[in-house]
C-alpha cells in the first residue's frame, strides 16, 4: 500500500523482528480474526457476517479515510462527528419541507463543504490550532443541529422511501453455495471513498505535497508549496466526507438525531492512529486506516457474538489501540521519518508544477 518507501535506499536484510515490528498491527488483526473464527466457527467467518461488518464499518470508514488526509498534514478535525449529525438534520429538515432527495443531498454536501471551508480558513489562514478551531466548530455544529431540530429526532413518513431504502439496499452478486451474496450500497460508497483517498494521497502531486506539509511545514513552504491552500483543501475534503457519512447514517437508520454521529470522531482518529503503526515512518496512510477501521469493526462484532460484557469490550478495544501504538513507538519508527522527508522533498521539483 506504500509504494513510495519500498523504493528507498538499501534496506537491511530480512529480519523476523523487524517484520513483526513493522506489521505487528496487521499480525494482531489476523490473530484477532483467527481467534473469533475458532470461537464462533458457525457465525463469524461467514459471508453474511463479513458483509454485515463491512456495512457496519462503512460510515466510520468514509470519515476515517477523509480524516486521514487531514492528519497527513499534521492537523486534526474534531468536528466531523458533529458535522455528520448536522448533515442528517439538514437533510431531514429538507424532507420536512417537501424537498426532493436530490435537493436534500445537495444541501447536505454543501453544508459539509461550508463547514470544511470554515475549519480550513480558521486553521490555515487565521492560524488557530486545528485542535482549538475544530473543537469550536464541533460545538457550533452540534448547537446548530440541536437548534434546527429543536432537539428532536426526524423520522417517519417525511423521509422518502428511496432515501431510506438506499441505506438498507445492496447490489446482488449472485450465489455462493446456498448463500445470497450482495454488496451493500453503503459498503460500495466506502470502497469508492477509499479508492479516491488512496489515489489522492499516493498518485497525485497534491498527495505528495500534503505529506510534505505534515513532514515539515517550513521545509515545505521553502519548497514552494502553497501550504494554506492545501490545508484548506484537506479540511474541505474532511467536511465533505463527514457530510457523506452523515447522509449514510441518516439513510441507514431512517432517523436523523441531532447527536447521532458524535461517536464517529474518536473512532476515526483511533482508526488513523492504528493505521499509522503500519507505516514505516508512522505516517497516516489510508491503507493502514482501512486496517484500523476493520480492527475496530471486527472487535465490536466478534466480542458481541461471544457475548462479552460491553464494558469489557470497550476496555479490550482501548487496550488494543494502546498496545499497537506503544509497540510501534517502541520500535523507533520515528527515526525513519527524517529520511522519508528528505527523499520526498528531493522528488518534488521533478514532479514540477
Amino acid at each position: 500500500m506504500k509504494d513510495r518507501e519500498s523504493t528507498g535506499p538499501a534496506r537491511a536484510a530480512f529480519s523476523p523482528e523487524r517484520f513483526l515490528r513493522r506489521y505487528g498491527t496487521l499480525v494482531g488483526f489476523i490473530l484477532i480474526v483467527v481467534f473469533f473464527w475458532t470461537q464462533r466457527p458457525g457465525t463469524f467467518m461467514t459471508i453474511p457476517n463479513w458483509v454485515n461488518i463491512t456495512r457496519q464499518m462503512s460510515i466510520l470508514g468514509v470519515v476515517a479515510f477523509t480524516m486521514t488526509i487531514v492528519m497527513v498534514t499534521g492537523d486534526f478535525d474534531l468536528s466531523i462527528g458533529a458535522m455528520a449529525s448536522l448533515v442528517g438534520i439538514v437533510a431531514g429538515t429538507t424532507f420536512q419541507n417537501d424537498g426532493a432527495v436530490g435537493t436534500a443531498v445537495a444541501l447536505s454536501l454543501l453544508a459539509g463543504v461550508a463547514g470544511g471551508l470554515l475549519n480550513g480558513v480558521l486553521v490555515a489562514y487565521i492560524g488557530i490550532s486545528a485542535f482549538v478551531a475544530t473543537l469550536g466548530t464541533l460545538t457550533v455544529f452540534r448547537g446548530l443541529a440541536l437548534y434546527i431540530s429543536g432537539g428532536a429526532s426526524i423520522y417517519g413518513r417525511v423521509i422518502p422511501a428511496e432515501f431510506s431504502s438506499f441505506g438498507r439496499g445492496a447490489i446482488p452478486l449472485g450465489k455462493i453455495g446456498a448463500t445470497d451474496l450482495a454488496l451493500p450500497n453503503l459498503t460500495i460508497l466506502a470502497i469508492l471513498a477509499l479508492i479516491l483517498v488512496f489515489i489522492i494521497l499516493n498518485y497525485t502531486i497534491v498527495g505528495r505535497r500534503l505529506y510534505a506539509i505534515g513532514g515539515n511545514m517550513e521545509a515545505a513552504r521553502f519548497g514552494g508549496i502553497r501550504i494554506n491552500r492545501l490545508r484548506l483543501l484537506s479540511f474541505v475534503i474532511s467536511g465533505l466526507g463527514a457530510a457523506v457519512a452523515g447522509l449514510m447514517l441518516f439513510s441507514r437508520l431512517s432517523t436523523a438525531h441531532p447527536t447521532q454521529g458524535e461517536g464517529l470522531m474518536l473512532q476515526a482518529i483511533a482508526a488513523v492512529f492504528l493505521g499509522m503503526t503500519l507505516s514505516e515512518e508512522s505516517q497516516p496512510n489510508v491503507g493502514g486506516t482501512l486496517i484500523g477501521v476493520l480492527i475496530l469493526g471486527v472487535l465490536a462484532n466478534g466480542l458481541t457474538q461471544m457475548q462479552i460484557d460491553t464494558y469489557i469490550q470497550q476496555i479490550s478495544t482501548g487496550a488494543i489501540i494502546i498496545l499497537a501504538v506503544t509497540l510501534s513507538s517502541l520500535s523507533g519508527q520515528q527515526r525513519h521519518y527524517g529520511r522519508w522527508l528528505r527523499r520526498l522533498l528531493r522528488r518534488l521539483p521533478r514532479e514540477g508544477d
Binding site: L20, T43, L249, R252
Partner: protein, 306 residues
C-alpha cells in the same frame, strides 16, 4: 514483539474465559442507556428473572450510540438467539429489528415503545405518571403559581410525560409555565439541570417568584434541588417533583427537602413481565396486546416512612 504477542494472548484468553457457550435459551438485552438508573434496575431484575427460568442473558450497552446498537443487533441476529429485549425507541433501530425478525428472532420492547416488528412492549403509562406529578403540583400550589418544566423531547416515552404535564398546567388558568428546559447531557443530566436551574434562579431573583419545578424524570429534579439549596432558597417552599423514584430521589424526598414527590415505575415488575411474556411466546402463545402497562405509584415522604 514477544511482549506484544504475550499481551495479546493474555487478552484473548481473558476474553475467552468470560464468553462461554451454553445450550439453555439465550436472550440478549440491548440498550444504549445502561448508565440510566431505571435501565439498570430493569436489566438486573430481568437477569434475575431469566436466571430463575434457566436462561443465559447477554447484556449489550452502546453508551448512547444508536447506530452502534443497530450494528450490535445485526451481530446477534446472525447468532440465532432465542429472543432479544430492547430498551430504546424502536423506530430508531429499525434496520436492527428487521435483521432480527428476518433471522426469526422475536424482539420484545422493555419500556421502549410500540412497533409493528416487536412482539409486544412492556412499559409504564407515561401519560398517567406525568398526570400524577402534574396534578400533585397543581394541588400543592392551590392552582396558582409559576412552574419551571424540565423536559426531553427526543425520547418519545419522556416526551409524552412533558406533553401531558403541559396540558394539565395550561388547563389551570392561574398556573404559568415560566420556562420549559431541555437539560444538556454533556456532563450528565444532573449537572445540565443544575446549571439551567441556577440560571433560572438568577433570572427570578425575588423570593416567591417560582413556585414549582416539574421534571420529566428524577435527574433534573435533583439538579434543580441542588441549585435551589446552594442558592439558599429552600425556605421559599418551591415544590419539586420528578418521575422514576431513583434511589437518590427517594433519599431527597425522605429527608424532607423541596423534592416532594416522584412516581415509582415498577421497573422490577416490568422486567418480570417481559420475562414472563418471552417465556409464553417461546412456549407458543400468540401475543396480540401491543403495550403491556405495569402500574406506577406516586411516592411522597409519607410513603417512604422514617
Amino acid at each position: 514483539m514477544r511482549k506484544f504477542s504475550l499481551l495479546l494472548v493474555i487478552l484473548l484468553l481473558t476474553v475467552a474465559g468470560v464468553g462461554f457457550a451454553q445450550d439453555a435459551p439465550t436472550v440478549a438485552v440491548m440498550t444504549p442507556f445502561l448508565a440510566q438508573p431505571g435501565t439498570q434496575i430493569m436489566v438486573e431484575n430481568f437477569e434475575a428473572a431469566a436466571m430463575e427460568k434457566g436462561w443465559s442473558v447477554n447484556v449489550i450497552d452502546t453508551n448512547e450510540d444508536i447506530a452502534a446498537l443497530v450494528s450490535r443487533m445485526e451481530d446477534v441476529a446472525l447468532q440465532g438467539l432465542d429472543a432479544i429485549i430492547i430498551n430504546v425507541d424502536p423506530t430508531q433501530v429499525e434496520p436492527g429489528l428487521h435483521a432480527a425478525v428476518d433471522a426469526g428472532i422475536p424482539v420484545f420492547g422493555l419500556d421502549s415503545g410500540a412497533h409493528p416488528l416487536l412482539v409486544t412492549n412492556v412499559t409504564s403509562n407515561g401519560y398517567t405518571m406525568a398526570a400524577e406529578t402534574a396534578t400533585y403540583v397543581v394541588d400543592r400550589l392551590s392552582g396558582a403559581g409559576n412552574v419551571i418544566m424540565f423536559i426531553f423531547e427526543p425520547y418519545p416515552p419522556v416526551q409524552k410525560r412533558g406533553a401531558i404535564a403541559r396540558a394539565i398546567f395550561e388547563n389551570t388558568p392561574d398556573i404559568t409555565i415560566a420556562d420549559a428546559i431541555t437539560p444538556s447531557f454533556d456532563n450528565g443530566p444532573l449537572e445540565g439541570a443544575r446549571n439551567a436551574m441556577e440560571a433560572v434562579l438568577l433570572a427570578h431573583p425575588d423570593a416567591g417568584s417560582i413556585q414549582a419545578v416539574w421534571a420529566a424524570w428524577d435527574d433534573p429534579a435533583l439538579g434543580a434541588l441542588q441549585a435551589i439549596e446552594d442558592a439558599g432558597r429552600v425556605d421559599e417552599g418551591i415544590v419539586i417533583v420528578g418521575i422514576d423514584a431513583t434511589e437518590q430521589a427517594r433519599d431527597a424526598i425522605a429527608r424532607g427537602s423541596n423534592f416532594e414527590a416522584t412516581v415509582a415505575q415498577d421497573f422490577a415488575g416490568m422486567a418480570q413481565k417481559v420475562a414472563d411474556l418471552v417465556e409464553s411466546h417461546l412456549g407458543g402463545a400468540n401475543i396480540t396486546q401491543v403495550n403491556h402497562y405495569v402500574p406506577a405509584n406516586l411516592v411522597t415522604q409519607a410513603d417512604l416512612g422514617e
